[in-house]
Amino acid sequence: MCVRLRIRIAAVALLGTAAVLAPAGAPAQLTGAGVTTAAAGPAPARQRELVALLRQDCGACHGMRLTGGLGPPLTAEALYAKPADSMTETILSGRPGTAMPPWRHFMTESEAAWLVARLRNGTIDAPDSR
């Protein structure tokens, strides 16, 4: 199944990232909330942190409801047709020459891939949308 495959690749890539990052220290906001397992995504506490980061800090540019701002919308509608790996890469490395910064120091590759998967299928918790 292609979803499974993608997650496995992400998990392998994570090992690579960790090795590269090791000399510079671990990503700044990893709180040790739990071991990331490939099948289930980050541990629940870490998932909440990532969703909060997405809403609040990504939201500064993409809108708290992800409907766009200085950065483009990150809604399922906007993202589902775009390749997941390149979205993950955009999150980790940013886009030089644009306002999109790299988030490598705030999350691992598998966490970025998890965010992208959730964004693309629209299963990021809806905010209080009154």
Binding site: R55, Q56, G69, R130
Partner: protein
């Protein structure tokens, strides 16, 4: 309170009132800066991420610009929505004209500026922005009011500054300044109303228009201020709006550097820099200009630093809590209110002693806006 059977509201002025945005729940608090108290809340304001506020000149009404394009006129005294309109798909803020009659909204999508009757919120003019390199109408940033019934704004994608003469608001006249630099991200009008300053994100530099002499065009200042230093990632765009002009000097956030740049506003030359704890977001002078307060982007957003404008040194580093989003001085600056999003509170400091004098509970507070803005040029 039920409007029908309520006793008449006690008479009071609004000079010591303001609002705190609770962005995640689309609500605002009406606060009293003398009492350090929340007087009440107003909700139903839509998506308030990146919300900003301007005031009617009598200080009674707050015009709240929401991300979802909502423009809401809130009555601070009765604590209710007076009018509300959904004026765009994606908006970022606005301004009010010198005479208080026209409210202008700056929009991302569809990109442009719209002018409204401040009393009724009826649309007076729709000014589409120029198209940027991606073929879309440019996002509009840095909208501010200027003397003689004008507004000034910047076009992020197209790299232009527009001077909008709105004396006849149904027939605004536009003067375009092109090629001012790549990706202006915000702008300010100096407190005396003379200059418009637009920060550039796409290059190291700042664009300047002398509003006394628009015929001289836009000039470039601080060219290449980051030369020779690696540019750090910017996790949040700095904001220029705020009273960042102190004692004849402009204190401006460097983009991609942990520095505040100091520029002499007579010559517009850099005269110094202050190393600070992170990427500055808001750089705001206390109203008497003796101190400049700075907050920061992630990962340094738990700190606030105080710069002494005489020695140009950081004299204090405060830790108000997790995710400091905004700060606002009381009208004469004896206190500063700081919103701390992730601790769900607003913290009030005495600016002379730096002691905490009050804490107010608020749901993920972001912007804080006091009615003293009503009387300031460029707010």
């Amino acid at each position: 309170m039920l409007a029908g059977c309520a006793a008449p509201l006690p008479l009071r002025g609004t000079g010591d009132l303001g609002v705190v945005i609770e962005r995640a729940i689309g609500r605002l608090q009406v606060v009293d800066t003398s009492a350090h108290a929340t007087l009440g809340t107003v909700d139903g304001l839509g998506d308030l991420s990146h919300a900003s506020v301007v005031y009617s000149r009598d200080g009674r009404y707050a015009y709240v610009f929401g991300r979802d394009g909502g423009l809401t006129k809130v009555d601070l005294l009765e604590r209710r929505i007076d009018r509300r309109t959904l004026q765009a798909g994606n908006s970022i803020g606005g301004a009010i004209s010198q005479d208080g009659r026209v409210v202008a909204a700056q929009n991302y999508a569809p990109g442009g500026v719209k002018l409204f009757d401040a009393r009724t919120l009826a649309l007076l003019a729709d000014i589409p922005s120029a198209v940027g390199p991606d073929g879309q109408r440019s996002k509009v940033v840095g909208l501010a009011d200027a003397p003689e019934g004008r507004f000034v704004a910047s076009l992020f994608d197209a790299g232009e500054i527009w001077l909008i003469d709105a004396r006849n608001p149904r027939m605004p006249r536009i003067t375009r300044f092109r090629g001012i630099g790549r990706q202006p991200y915000d702008g300010l009008v100096t407190p005396d109303g003379r200059y418009y300053v637009a920060g550039l994100f796409g290059e190291d530099g700042v664009a300047l228009v002398d509003l006394w002499h628009p015929e001289r065009g836009a000039t470039r200042i601080l060219d290449g201020y980051g030369k020779g230093e690696a540019r750090l990632p910017v996790y949040k765009m700095p904001h220029l709006r705020g009273w960042a002009i102190a004692d004849g000097y402009a204190f401006l956030p460097a983009v991609g550097h942990h520095e505040v740049l100091i520029v002499d506003t007579r010559t517009w030359r850099e005269v110094g820099r202050v190393a600070v704890a992170g990427q500055p977001v808001f750089v705001i002078a206390r109203p008497d200009a003796r101190q400049v307060w700075v907050n920061f982007a992630l990962p340094d957003n738990g700190k606030v630093q105080v710069i002494d404008t005489e020695t140009r040194r950081v004299t204090a580093t405060l830790a108000p809590g997790r995710a400091v989003l905004h700060l606002e001085f009381t009208p004469r600056g004896e206190e500063v209110w700081i919103s701390v999003r992730d601790d769900n509170r607003v913290v009030v400091y005495d600016t002379a002693t730096l002691a905490r004098v009050a804490t107010l509970a608020a749901n993920a507070p972001s912007g804080i806006f006091f009615t003293s803005r009503a009387t300031r040029i460029g707010f």
